[in-house]
Structure formats: structure tokens, C-alpha cells
Symmetry: C2
Subunit: 153 residues, 2 copies
DNA sequence: TCGAACGTTCAGAATCTACTGAACATTCAA
DNA sequence: TTGAATGTTCAGTAGATTCTGAACGTTCGA
């Protein structure tokens, strides 16, 4: 019910995620899967709901699977498969994003090396960045653990 | 010294930041400002070092200023102004990124509303996402505080 | 074995974005 | 006041990205 409102929601979802670097079509798929009824949807259903080509759905869902954001499920007595979001999809997505903090820290460490003397005043700007990203990279897993514990996951 | 290595570093920096949604040229500017000597650079110097047009430098630096990543400085007895990265630039950048967590949480809350019954099993997927992003949005400032305290900032 | 439904891949079209460079504005030394 | 140096804006373009759709598997019921 109120299919149109849900379609609009998927569009909005795709828009926000596109600002985070995800292709709009894939964001729409994810958004739809967060609120659709039933929660598992076939490629054909997804293509119809979001007005996307079969190709986009196929490629998009492959990508969401790869990012551990969605998974295939099979319904008994039915051809092919359907997709659903993983229950803790967005958490997982954020954990993968954790790799970013490490990469940033490594990049900043390289910058410190380029300047040469770690203790030089002109190394300060990039040294602080290096330490900060390393700190964040280290703490993110703890945060996620804490959330999971407090929410019984 | 080793100007070329620093130029390559700026390129690499821009490349990584472009995966985070920043235009490559602006990432290059930021990367160069993290390691350049002297640490403050005029538009002309930036354009020369990074082979960018005056227009790109102007627009890019305006954007970095807006994001509180860089600021203008004036050298006595010199035309115009130069730019430098703020000492805690990347930390600030991350704090601004905090707004994202809030936006995501709001988006998920909208999804819960669309489903209607917050306690329904099919609302679980988006309810968890809502709570998770709210949790992260709330904790990020504390993390930053802790880092600053431990590093005398 | 056949055909219908479903899924995948990828070349090319459609679309969007970043960047340049030219026109214009501003600043300041002489 | 003049003009050289510098800074800004923005229309247009070059280039990259996303999306489609057609060609080609694959699966499975009959």
C-alpha cells in the first residue's frame, strides 16, 4: 500500500547515497529494499517498481551483494531467486567504510615521510591528520561492537 | 626539494579523495597544501605546482575554505593573499562529515514511518539502520573531543 | 527436446561533472 | 590615473559515468 510514496522514498534514498559516491540506481535499489513489501523482491519486481532496466538491476544487485548490503534468497517452488537487504546491512556497509580510515592514515603517513622530519613544525599539519585517522580507524570497530551489544545483535 | 615527489603525492591525494566524492582538482589542492614548502601558497603558486587553471584554483580554494579545510593568510608587503591548511583541517572535515550521519538517520526514520508500525518485523531492517546512524552521529563528537584532549589540541 | 522465463554482459547512447579559459573586477605601485 | 598583477565568475567543452537494451546464456516445466 502507498506504493507511490515508497517509490518516491527509494528515489530520495538514491539521491542521498549518490552524494556518497554510489550510482543513483543502486541507491534506489537499496532504498526500495529497506521498505518494500514483501521484503524480498525478484529482479522483475525491482525493475518494475523502480523503472530500471533489467541490466541495471542485475549489475546493481551484484554490487550490493558484493558490498554485503543485500543477499539472495530463494522462495520454495519458484524459479530463480529474490533479493533482500541484510538485517544489519547499513552497519556492515559502515564497517567496510572503516577501510577508508586506514587508507587515509596511510596516506598521511606518506606525507610525513615526504617532509622528512616528523618533529619539524611544518610536519605538524599532516602528522596530526595521520594520528587522527589512525585513532578513528582503531575506534570504529569498538563503536560498532558497543552498538551491537546494546541492541542485541 | 624533491618537488616532483610532492607533486606526485598531491596527485595521489586527489585520487583518494575523489573516491570520497571530492573533485580531483580540489583533492590535489588539499594534498599539496598538506606538504608544500612554504606551507602557505598563493593562487599562482598552486596553479603552477598542480598544473591547474586559475579558475580551478579559485573555485577549489573557495570550496576548501567553505569546508573549513583551508584559510587565507596574508604575507606582509605582498599583493593579495596566500592559503594554508588549517592545522586541524582533517579533523574539522570529519566533524562536518558528521552531518551525514544525522542525515542518514533522518532518512531511515522516514522509512520507518512509511512502514507505519515501528514494532512490525518488516520495520526491523530500517529501524536498526535508524538507531545505528543516530548512535554514530551522537558519538562522533565525543571521539573527536577525546582525540583532541589526548593530543593537546 | 523445446520454448518460455529469467539472468547476465557489455557496447554504445544519454547524461552528468569537472575543468578550462576568456571576460570582467579588483588591487595597488608608480 | 594608469596599467600590471591578481582574483572571480561562468559559459562551453572535454571527458567520465551511468544506464539501457540487445544479444546471448541458463534453467526448468511440459
Amino acid at each position: 500500500m502507498d506504493r507511490e510514496a515508497k517509490q518516491r522514498y527509494a528515489e530520495e534514498f538514491g539521491l542521498l547515497y549518490s552524494t556518497l559516491g554510489m550510482p543513483p540506481a543502486y541507491g534506489k535499489l537499496l532504498g526500495w529494499l529497506m521498505i518494500c513489501d514483501p521484503p524480498d523482491q525478484t529482479s522483475t519486481e525491482l525493475a518494475r517498481a523502480l523503472q530500471l532496466s533489467k541490466g541495471s538491476v542485475s549489475t546493481g544487485m551484484r554490487m550490493l551483494e558484493g558490498a554485503k548490503l543485500a543477499r539472495r534468497v530463494t522462495r520454495p517452488g519458484q524459479r530463480g531467486h529474490a533479493y533482500e537487504v541484510l538485517p544489519d546491512a547499513l552497519i556492515t556497509g559502515t564497517m567496510n567504510g572503516k577501510a577508508i580510515w586506514g587508507a587515509l592514515s596511510v596516506l598521511m603517513a606518506k606525507g610525513v615521510e615526504l617532509i622528512g622530519d616528523e618533529d619539524a613544525p611544518e610536519a605538524r599539519r599532516v602528522r596530526i591528520a595521520r594520528d587522527f585517522f589512525a585513532f578513528i580507524a582503531e575506534r570504529v570497530p569498538d563503536l560498532i561492537e558497543e552498538f551491537k551489544r546494546d541492541n542485541g545483535l
